[in-house]
């Protein structure tokens, strides 16, 4: 555990013990129940953010899991007489499984992101509410839990609920922190910025999303289970109202949804503000005043309270001491030889087909790249070059055909597995993770690429690759602060950090000026010298001829020529294709 981690764990433990002791001493019951409600909101908002804040899968259905938990506890305690604490486990498991089940179906559909995911989760809430309302789970009259015995963790029932709420809130915030520091968190953040790239860089996106969703839903379920006992009268109207899904979003946004502590802070602020004006005379205008205060806060701190405070504090700290970024870069990269992945291997594509709707993008493409070979892939626009890269890297699945790397079959595997076997790629238009620094962008590839590494190793190695590509001085810059040339090189650094055996380069030179092209070509050579095989898609013939050992020409999804660069480019068919005489058919 890092020093930061230990500090946070200590702080959470002290907070738990302190708040726990407070209850043991005997607070007036109101404070217990007031704080319980805030703890409950903290758990709900934080659990929501684990999926929706970290991974950006904006869920409008947190009420469904909360409600599932409430009704699990309500049903099990009343109909089956199960002890309350035991039902909490069931509530968590059931809600978690519900999340897992929904995720297992929904996360496979690539288009169900953004607002469509929000819609889907909202719809699921409606459906669940309707089922509960019209079946024996509730049926309409509500479930009343007054006769359910309350375990005596503390002397008073309110104290017990307070303690349960406290534990759940602390565990949830602790989990959110641990995830934020872990591979899972890193992967989720990457999914938030660009899910397809994350997958291609080796992040097991489906598994990670499922883990996050299950945990998020499970915690909401436990919170619901406790809350059923708290309100003691569970009705569909209250349980599945718009309040829970709306408030968890508002709280997370207010506190900062991408920070582990943000939702908790937002929940505390909004939760407490509900009590700000409960006095009978000023209730209506008081509500307006609270709303106005919320508006002011978010207008002044648009990225959320916690990130804003931390940012301000950091700026303050930075102003006090000179930047050290460059030094770190030298220390990390200096003297350490960077090595690509293990044994060189050949990449083979055999009879690969791919269609999109009615358009046949690849028609039985076969090609091979020997270990340590540079193969240039050329062809007119729309000939299927990028599609081939997408199919090899696993972004698309081939309709037919076999792709292999050495003895491993690639076709049929998920993109992150393919990345793990040592295939990495760059994008023609660089697709860095927008909220990651240059260093973190490369570190992510080092973490998830072939040869999994710990976070610290990955960062050290990432520094090395930044140096290798000449970006060391830009390590702490965010992608939008980099120019195109730097972003292209960042793509290369990422691809290399994954320790590939084969790199698929998609038009790395396009858009660069002549001086930049020269340095890029040199860089590709250096990469090759390390024993990596390269598939080189490029329009710039000078570079193709200079770098490639062999050339493959694609046209309309078919390989029309292959061989020595100069011979191939002189072949009549290739010339015809390039001059646009597409009537020439084999």
């Amino acid at each position: 555990m890092s020093a930061h981690g230990r500090r946070v764990a200590l702080a959470l433990t002290i907070a738990t013990l302190g708040l726990g002791a407070l209850a043991a001493v005997g607070l007036p019951a109101f404070y217990e129940s007031f704080l319980y409600l805030i703890f409950s909101w903290i758990a709900l908002a934080t659990s929501w953010a684990i999926l929706s804040g970290y991974a950006g899968y904006f869920s409008f259905g947190h009420g469904a899991f909360f409600g599932a938990g409430m009704y699990t506890t309500a049903t099990l305690t009343t109909a089956l007489g199960m002890p309350f604490l035991l039902t909490l486990i069931a509530a968590g498991v059931l809600a978690g499984l519900l999340g897992l089940g929904i995720g297992a179906v929904v996360f496979r559909v690539r288009r169900l992101r953004g607002e469509l995911f929000g819609l889907l989760t909202l719809a699921i809430t409606f459906v669940l509410a309707t089922i509960v309302l019209n079946t024996r789970i509730d049926g309409g009259p509500g479930v009343y839990l007054s006769a359910v015995p309350m375990p005596r963790l503390l002397a008073s029932p309110t104290g017990t609920l307070y303690l349960l709420g406290l534990l759940l809130a602390v565990l949830t915030v602790g989990a959110a922190f641990a995830i934020a520091q872990s591979r899972l968190g890193l992967g989720l953040y990457a999914i938030h910025d660009d899910e397809d790239v994350a997958e291609v860089q080796g992040v097991p996106t489906l598994a990670y999303k499922l883990m996050a969703f299950t945990l998020s839903a499970g915690i909401a379920g436990i919170a619901g289970g406790i809350h059923a006992m708290y309100v003691s009268y569970v009705t569909v109207g209250e349980t599945f109202s718009i309040t829970v899904p709306l408030y968890v979003v508002l709280m997370s946004v207010l506190g900062g949804a991408r920070h582990w502590l943000g939702p908790a802070v937002g929940a505390a602020i909004i939760g407490a503000s509900l009590y700000a004006f409960t006095g009978g005379q000023q209730a209506v205008l008081g509500r307006a005043a609270v709303a106005f205060a919320l508006i002011l806060v978010i207008l002044l701190l648009p990225e959320g309270v916690v990130p804003a405070v931390i940012g301000r504090w950091r700026r303050h700290a930075r102003a006090a001491s000179p930047p050290t970024v460059v030094d770190i870069a030298h220390a990390a990269g200096g003297g350490r030889a960077l090595t690509p992945a293990g044994a060189p291997a050949a990449l083979e594509c055999h009879d690969v087909w791919k269609a999109f709707g009615g358009i046949q993008a690849l028609r039985g493409v076969s090609l091979a790249i020997g270990p340590g070979e540079i193969v240039g892939l050329v062809g007119p626009n729309g000939s299927g070059k990028t599609t081939l890269i997408n199919v090899v890297s696993g972004h698309y699945e081939a309709d037919r055909g076999r792709i292999a790397l050495g003895t491993e079959t690639l076709s049929g595997r998920r993109a992150h597995e393919i990345a793990g076997l040592g295939v990495s790629r760059t994008y023609q238009i660089p697709r860095p993770f927008a909220h990651f620094t240059a260093l973190d962008n490369v570190a992510l590839a080092a973490t998830f690429g072939a040869g999994h590494r710990s976070a610290r190793e990955a960062r050290t190695e990432a520094q090395g690759w930044l140096e290798f590509t000449g970006l060391a001085r830009r390590a702490s810059a965010f992608p939008h602060e980099l120019n195109l040339h730097e972003r292209k090189f960042l793509e290369l650094a990422r691809a290399l950090a994954a320790r590939p055996r084969v790199i698929l380069l998609d038009e790395v030179l396009s858009g660069l000026n002549p001086a930049e092209i020269t340095s890029a070509i040199r860089l590709v050579r250096e990469i090759h010298e390390q024993g990596v095989a390269i598939l080189f898609v490029e329009h710039l013939m000078r570079a193709v001829l200079e770098l490639s050992h062999r050339i493959v020409v694609l046209n309309e999804g078919e390989v029309i020529a292959e061989g020595d660069p100069r011979d191939v480019m002189r072949a009549q068919r290739v010339v015809d294709v390039y001059l646009g005489r597409s009537h020439v058919v084999a």
Partner: protein
């Protein structure tokens, strides 16, 4: 098995209920899709429009269409003013949810301050009128609301599709930097759009006053279903919002007629979930 008349009548009723959903969804869809603002204030504005219509009609005896004639330009200005705030603070998509939620709560409080929390009902002579077509009855007001939704949806579609302003807005939504490079003055058009969206809320409000019962907390009753309509229809797609509203309305009302009313949300939203999962491209 329900009679053909019952089935037909329920389809009519669903279409008309759906028309009102669409009317509410239209403005929301525009500001979400083109300005990236998830505008919860829209619901509060619609209800404010309804209360104003009630006040003008019930207390001052101003005919609803005259009320609408006053409300629509006033709301346009409110929309412009709102956008001035959003633009000045550069409110992002996420933050807009919070800001507009706060504004909606403030409006709700103001409505309750002026009109109390008690129910208000605007009784009009034409509230119960309807047109008879064969065995079916088509309620006049709801039909007008639905027709208004249709007209506005197509007008908005044409506006976005064929005018310079519309094209510029769509271009800016897709790539603000590129549109700016081509000299598209996104900011001026955003004000226009925000005004139009608020004006739509005013129109919806007038119909709500005539058709429904008013209570301040009703701001939130429309939220779920209208959100669904906006997203099913596709952001910034007026025709989509129209069709989505009608679809949800009809599927709910047919379930109400054929099975049992309480199961209605299950059917319409299960259909929605299936569409989303099986044919995500269609949405």
């Amino acid at each position: 098995m329900p009679s053909a008349t019952l089935l037909g009548q329920s389809i009519v009723s669903g279409l008309l209920a759906g028309g009102l959903y669409s009317l509410l969804a239209l403005g929301l869809s525009l500001s979400w899709g083109l300005l990236r603002l998830v505008n919860l204030t829209h619901f509060a504005l619609a209800l404010l429009g309804a209360y104003l219509t009630y006040q003008l009609g019930h207390v001052f005896h101003v005919a609803p269409w005259l009320a609408a004639a006053a409300i629509v330009p006033a709301f346009f200005l409110i929309g412009v003013a709102l956008h001035a705030v959003f633009a000045y603070f550069r409110v992002a998509e996420f933050a807009s949810l919070l800001v507009t939620f706060g504004l909606a709560v403030i409006l709700e409080s103001l409505i309750q301050w002026f009109w109390t929390a008690d129910y208000r009902r605007y009784e009009t002579a034409y509230a119960t009128m309807s047109i008879r077509v064969g065995p079916l009855f088509i309620p006049t007001l709801e039909m007008l609301a639905c027709l208004t939704a249709v007209v506005l949806a197509f007008a908005t579609w044409a506006w976005l599709r064929f005018t310079y302003v519309g094209k510029a807005l769509r271009a800016s939504a897709e790539d603000p930097a590129m549109a700016a490079a081509f000299g598209v003055n996104h900011r001026a058009q955003a004000f226009l759009l925000s005004g139009v969206s608020a004006a739509y809320a005013g129109i919806a409000g007038t119909y709500i006053a005539l058709i429904a019962t008013l209570a301040p907390s009703q701001i939130w009753t429309w939220l779920g279903v209208v959100f669904a309509v906006v997203i099913i229809g596709g952001l910034a797609n007026p025709i989509g919002a129209l069709l989505a509203g009608l679809l949800i309305g009809v599927s709910e009302s047919v379930t109400m007629a054929v099975v049992t009313p309480a199961w209605a949300p299950l059917v319409s939203f299960s259909v929605l979930i299936l569409i989303l999962i099986l044919r995500p491209g269609r949405v």
